[in-house]
Amino acid sequence: MLLAEALQKRFQAMPLTDGRDGWPDFQVAEHHLVDVLHFLRGDMVPRFPMLLDLTAVDERGGQAAPERAFTLVYHLHGLDDRGALRLRVPHADAEVPVPTATGVFANANWYEREVYDLFGLAFSDHPDLRRILLPPHWEGHPLCKREPIRATERPAYRLGKSEVQEALKMYSDTVPAPDPGLTVLNVGPHHPGTHGILRFVLKLSGEEIATVDPDIGYHHRGVEKIAEGHTFHNFIPYTDRVDYLGGALGEFPYVRAIEMLADLAVPPRAEGIRTLLAEICRISSHLVWLGSYGNDLGTMGPAFYAFRDRALLMDLIEKYTGGRLHPQFFRIGGVAMDLPDDWRGDLLTTLEAVERGLRDSERLTVGNPVFQARTRGVGVLSAAQAEKWAVSGILLRSTGKDWDMRKAAPYGLYGDLDFAVPTSTDGDALARTQLHIEEIRESIGMLRQLAERMPEGPTLAADARYAFPPKDHTLRDIETLIHHFEQVAGEIGPPAGQALSITESARGMLAYYVVADGGPRPYRLRVRSPSFPHVQLIAELGRGTALPDFIATIGSIDYVLADLDR
């Protein structure tokens, strides 16, 4: 293999074998790191253009040697058939800084700030090393293994009076001192245009924006730390809520990662039901976006029409799963139960209504001349910028790149379905709106195909070590009951190893990277959410625009704050 040879010869990289996802996996020494990244991004043919994710693992929870107290994990993606590549860099001492990757990949900036924030690892020559998710006064670094998982095990979080004043200073316009002629405007944390608690510190000249500084973390719930305290099964409900508009789309990468670790074969009907739910959730998420984006531009109508149709989809999900926004229906090795007998009829009627309603919403948005005037040429993203900031999803497809994980590396039942990946080359907000609508149409087509050819068979893998045993069997024989107890009480987990599973959520490439040590809980769980790199991009995309265009731009990016801050 050319890649392995090059890495091993030139950089003494060591191939690693505990990955269960099949991606090439190498250990690289710290002093080689920047060179390796340079080589992979620039010199190699074909190159790896995208830094998919950068995170760390605190190895001090097990019996790791002191020289490998931390492991930095770099996931690169080729955006082609080769898929991902994992680099692992052992790091000994939290006091010694790690060489920064920002010189190679611009989007490493926020990822390194996150590692600094959550692990306490500093990066040498990083342009802007501040905490990103936690407030500046937070003591400690929560993803380190010595930090307790439950908040109740920590002393209460209190700010002294001087610290409160210090914190409030951030919101005053005198600190940081504005440049002459510029006004500092806080868009957020509470602002109708930011769709939640997110703060942009704008420096304005008139209404034109000179600089944008996104301030995130208001929505941080520590999902990655929470995962370390839960059994593998128990964590599934949290995955719905990471991107709360996506619902089942968030469960997909997580259960897939565990199934990779456990080497579980999922029955085709289970895959079919998962795909079905995922696509319903995708439509509902896109509809919410379409409605709220109209609201950003001052038109009230589309929101109500989009939400009307979304409510139909919610009813459908409720009928199938019992949940509405968050079905939490996926299980490791399958799904919780089979679909009700009359699922087809309901699905087809709902799709009919959604398709009809979509025509209304389309006319009210992309068909409206004022809407076009507000979005054409606004928030234009070039293909080069898209690569620089590692964007994915509709944002990437609006720049002409035909990249969709469902097509590129089919999972679930997507390989059997016939669908197109709509793209555009305009890169502006209007193109993104159009793409959302076209994707809804594609999803409707996929759901119709699923209604026709949903596979028959069981809905859960018959491997009692990792998948739940069938409930009716547990009431009949003691063997299955014991397995059931072991599963529920959290006594067994998948074998040690790690896996990265990438799926296409409604917003882009959503990846879960799970490190298991053989215990009943994840040793480390990393959520690579698409909103994080997309909001990072706003600092560049928002510069030089006027305030109304800024709102139109950030709205068109389709981020979800829970997905951003996790």
Binding site: L185, E207, L297, G298, M300, G301, Y305, V370, I551
Partner: protein, 318 residues
């Protein structure tokens, strides 16, 4: 005695107008509900009509709060100015033949334009005195927008004055042997668009622009002071509608029904158009709004005025 009756009458007119504005808030919410596939307020009283009263009570019972960073005098004065200028304009509006306070006043139309300029002051001062950046941005937008759209508005009205030969609203209505919308279709459209901008309502609500400026010029206002702005907005909306009815739609002229009913029907029809616009259109960007005002509406209204003048001159000769 006459003086006392006059004062009583004025009080009554004011109360009726304020009640109307409150009712319009409710009516708008019901109409929007109808147009947007939802119910709107329908709980209090028949059809939810008590909602207007409940809203008024809520606003009146709230604390009259002045932010520490606001200019206290102007902050208090601005909402009054807005409500006053809108209310005063109604003095020259006739409801029926011979039924108005000063419908015969020979500078009635000028008075309305003057009052609408005063209204711009109220909006601007409110935003400026609040001492908040969002409010200031809204105020700056408001003043530019209101000044820009007063030109096409005035020019469109001038064509009506040319046709009728009168500046008093009674005179203009009486001069309409056929509704002027037939003679002035372009003028009517210009008047309506400029009217929406003058009352800064969606789609031209840029001074408030919720998704951009939080609430624009009235961000820092609450309680009854916010209520005055609100009333001023809806009174302004009514004023534009009633002007459209009087100047273009033939005022109280109409078959079978009494004149004042015709006047009301025409006014509410125009108001409904305003609601409808709000339900369906996005907000243009600020520079697009300005471009529309200066580059399209202003030349068009000038052209309209010239053509009207020519036609009127030819009519006289012939």
């Amino acid at each position: 005695m006459t003086l006392f009756l006059m004062a009583l009458g004025m009080l009554l007119t004011t109360v009726v107008l304020l009640g109307l504005a409150g009712f319009l808030v409710f009516a708008e919410r019901r109409v929007l509900g109808l147009l947007q596939n939802r119910h709107g307020p329908n709980r209090l009283g028949p059809f939810g009509i008590g909602q207007a009263l409940a809203d008024a009570l809520k606003l009146m019972s709230k604390e009259n709060f002045v932010p520490a960073f606001a200019d206290p005098v102007l902050y208090r004065a601005a909402p009054v100015l807005v409500a006053f200028s809108a209310l005063a304009s109604f003095a020259v509006v006739p409801l029926d033949r011979g039924f108005s306070w000063a419908g015969d006043w020979n500078i009635g139309l000028l008075f309305i334009l003057a009052m609408s300029s005063l209204n711009a002051y109220g909006v601007f001062l409110g935003g400026w005195a609040s001492g908040s950046k969002f409010a200031l941005l809204g105020a700056v937008r408001a003043v530019a927008q209101l000044v820009s759209y007063e030109l096409p508005l005035g020019l469109a009205l001038l064509a009506v004055v040319l046709l009728s030969g009168s500046l008093s609203l009674n005179g203009i209505v009486q001069a309409q042997w056929m509704p002027y919308i037939v003679l002035q279709p372009l003028g009517f459209v210009i008047f309506l668009i400029a009217g929406v901008a003058e009352t800064h309502r969606l789609p031209f609500d840029l001074p408030e622009a919720e998704s951009e400026l939080v609430a624009g010029f009235n961000t820092e206002y609450g309680g009854m002071r916010f209520g005055y702005f609100f009333l001023g907005e809806y009174l302004g909306l009514t004023l534009i509608a009633v002007l459209a009815a009087a100047l273009y739609l033939g005022g109280w002229h109409g078959p079978w029904l009494p004149g004042w009913i015709w006047m009301l029907i025409k006014t509410f029809a125009v108001i409904f158009i305003f609601f409808w616009l709000r339900a369906s259109l996005p907000r243009p960007r600020y520079d697009q709004l300005m471009a529309l005002g200066w580059k399209i509406l202003l030349p068009l209204s000038l052209l309209n005025l010239l053509c009207t003048a020519f036609a009127a001159a030819l009519w006289r000769l012939g």
